[in-house]
Symmetry: none
Subunit: 417 residues, 2 copies
């Protein structure tokens, strides 16, 4: 089954609106063993009919989003009717539903709005629980194969529930007998994409029928493996052997979720002291629902005075070693533990740029400290040469990963003890 | 000039990654008088060559994103060379740049990485300031017209600066003589989209030849007006009359940039005390280059103990009024000023959810305090019923807007005095 998605809407091509439909539809289809082979965005108007005609030549299932509304630039319904040489007639049930919807909201009824009740003959209506325009389903049988055309509304809050309620059950039926592939994503922190591929690529590609993809994100690489259960198990072994330490999940968890979960499991608490990350580390941690069980406090000590005042970093250390130094990172982390009474602390101090670097400490230099109330403080020096916001992302990713590795190592020690 | 965009990447078609390139490219092109006519997403592999061939038949300018990296599924470079029957050769300058980049980062050099220095003969190299893979530009003259093919890296943090630095100047040259339309974006904080449309929509649409677009973001609405200089001036009057207070810029500045600029202009400083926003407010402020001139410190007091310890919120107030209360927000902001010695402070305390609400203070309730060392403390109560991360975004947007309005009002008073 070949699937194409056509997104209509001049606003998409003008860049006014981000297209989230492809992501949504692709994720919904995958468990059914269906994948989107191609997606295109076309402007409102005649291009819609041409794009539908081209897609139906190649694909078995075509989704068209948008262009079902009441305004003059909404022409998807008419384009589909024209393409299949069908006449449009007003569907009385749809018309009633639209009238009821407007009445309960106190909006006046107009001819323009009622256009949305026009249905090509033989089309199936997909009810819209969150708007006036229904979706439409058209089937076309030829000698060789059956083609399925779904017309869906543009607003995500209308399309998404309609897709789950009406489209998915129809697809299950259309697609019966297909075997859904299995996918597993291995998320590896703080290693470059090419290093990952070199270490595991050749071995993985030798597995029968494997499909392999790499996705580099700031501070991490995701390895996506598609294949049989046996292939996934083999891939698991290969990747775990190469990146036992840096592989932080094969599930859906983000790195901050893993860290919060590990801390919560052992009822430990965390504080953070941030200079160059400016609150971004605390913000990532507090993005996790339930973070309040482990996260006590964050100190965003941007000014030197704040480092001294809030974290008891000594002024002498700042003046002799500099605010961006191993000693200051250490004192910040230890100060955070002392002030917040937490079990662990992370501290960051660095030069995000674009200015402020020196020969000894160029822009992008950062010191990250991991401290625990009961153990020693480790300080790591790194350099990330990138823009300001990627710098913050890379430093927070590295800090979280350093803490995660420490928690896992301590877990190992206590299990061995 | 007809423009097509081809996005490559199986991860896009699997729905693992949201495609932000179309939005970015479309917005960058618009001021040049160029619009994207069509966009398509194709999987890694042979489909890339076919899509390029099809696009070059119709379009004058084709952008291809992704597939330039070091891994085996990166085949865009080879596909373009094959399509134009060009041989690839290693570009010594690019190879040197890659080697230097890896050396400064302490990464090992491999053949795979060096593949990225392969350039089709006659192609122009577009330097990549944020990654190893350069962009490539290929020109093809036929009797009838000239076609322009740009190959750009997939990661947005690499593509976006490259586009602005290298591609835009080339497009200006390619497109010379074209009349760019004028566009102005009015960014309005803390007002709903339908309220904005109702207030200014009919008047704006009456202007001759206007093109109007609304874009709702968390906590703000952007009104985009396209038209002649006279139309833009008229639109300016209409929108300023309706939203004098909430219109925070007609330029490119984000709200946090406006706030940092206003504080810097009058040499005032800021501290923040955050509970429910968990560092997100400090992080947005420190995203602005030069924030260190105005931002002294952030207190992320997630635990009640931290509010008492770090900000001297009284324990009685917490136990009688609750941690989410007007009194606690006030004490947090005033505590931040006292501890950091700043001129202004913002404080947030609220219930992000998904749990923790009550009848009196349901999930989504938040108190935002704006304090100044020389004036009174204002506390605002709001409710945002949304998911956790949108909640943080809405609260930080509102807090920044409240501070901006106060700074502007005080400016007016001191000017009047």
């Amino acid at each position: 089954m070949r699937v194409h998605v056509i997104n209509t809407g001049t606003e998409l091509l003008l860049g006014h609106v981000l297209n989230t439909h492809l992501t949504f539809i692709a994720r919904e289809l995958f468990p059914l063993g269906l994948r989107v082979e191609r997606q295109s965005t076309v402007p409102d108007g005649a291009a819609i009919r041409d794009a539908m005609a081209a897609a139906l030549k190649e694909a078995d299932v075509v989704f068209v989003t948008g262009g079902l509304g009441p305004t003059t630039d909404d022409v998807t319904r008419e384009a589909a009717a024209e393409l299949f040489s069908l006449t449009l007639h007003q569907d009385s049930k749809v018309a009633e539903a639209i009238k009821l919807r407007l009445r309960t909201r106190g909006f006046p009824m107009t001819d323009r709005i009622l256009r949305q009740a026009d249905v090509p003959e033989g089309a199936e209506v997909l009810p819209n629980a969150n708007g006036t325009a229904p979706g439409l389903y058209l089937k076309r049988n030829t000698a060789r194969r059956t083609r399925h055309l779904f017309l869906l509304p543009g607003p995500p809050r209308e399309l998404e529930p309609m897709f789950r309620r009406s489209v998915l059950p129809m697809l299950v039926d259309i697609n019966k007998g297909a075997v859904a592939p299995q996918v597993r994503t291995f998320r590896i922190a703080c290693v470059g994409e090419s290093v990952v591929e070199e270490a595991v690529g050749p071995q993985l590609l030798a597995l029968p029928g494997i499909e392999l993809g790499y996705c580099a994100r700031p501070g991490e690489v995701d390895v996506r493996v598609i294949g049989s259960a046996a292939v996934l198990d083999e891939a698991d072994k290969i990747i775990k052997e190469a990146f036992a330490q840096q592989l932080y999940t094969t599930g859906d968890e983000d790195l901050e979720e893993v860290v919060v979960r590990l801390l919560a499991q052992r009822k430990h608490t965390l504080a953070v002291a941030e200079s160059c990350t400016g609150g971004a580390l605390a913000s990532r941690i507090t993005d996790v629902p339930g973070a309040s069980a482990v996260f006590l406090a964050g100190f965003v000590t941007y000014a030197n005075e704040a480092k001294a005042e809030m974290l008891r970093v000594t002024r002498t250390t700042i003046s002799t070693q500099g605010a961006v130094s191993e000693a200051v990172a250490r004192q910040m982390a230890e100060g955070a533990i002392a002030r917040a009474g937490s079990d662990y602390a992370l501290a960051t101090t660095g030069i995000a740029g674009p200015s402020g670097g020196s020969d000894e400490k160029p822009v992008g230099t950062v010191f990250i400290a991991v401290a625990s109330a009961s153990g020693e403080t480790q300080v790591h020096r790194r350099r990330f040469q990138t823009d300001r916001s990627s710098f913050k992302q890379l430093v927070t990713e590295t800090a979280l990963e350093l803490l995660r590795e420490r928690l896992v190592a301590e877990e190992g020690e206590s299990a061995a003890a």
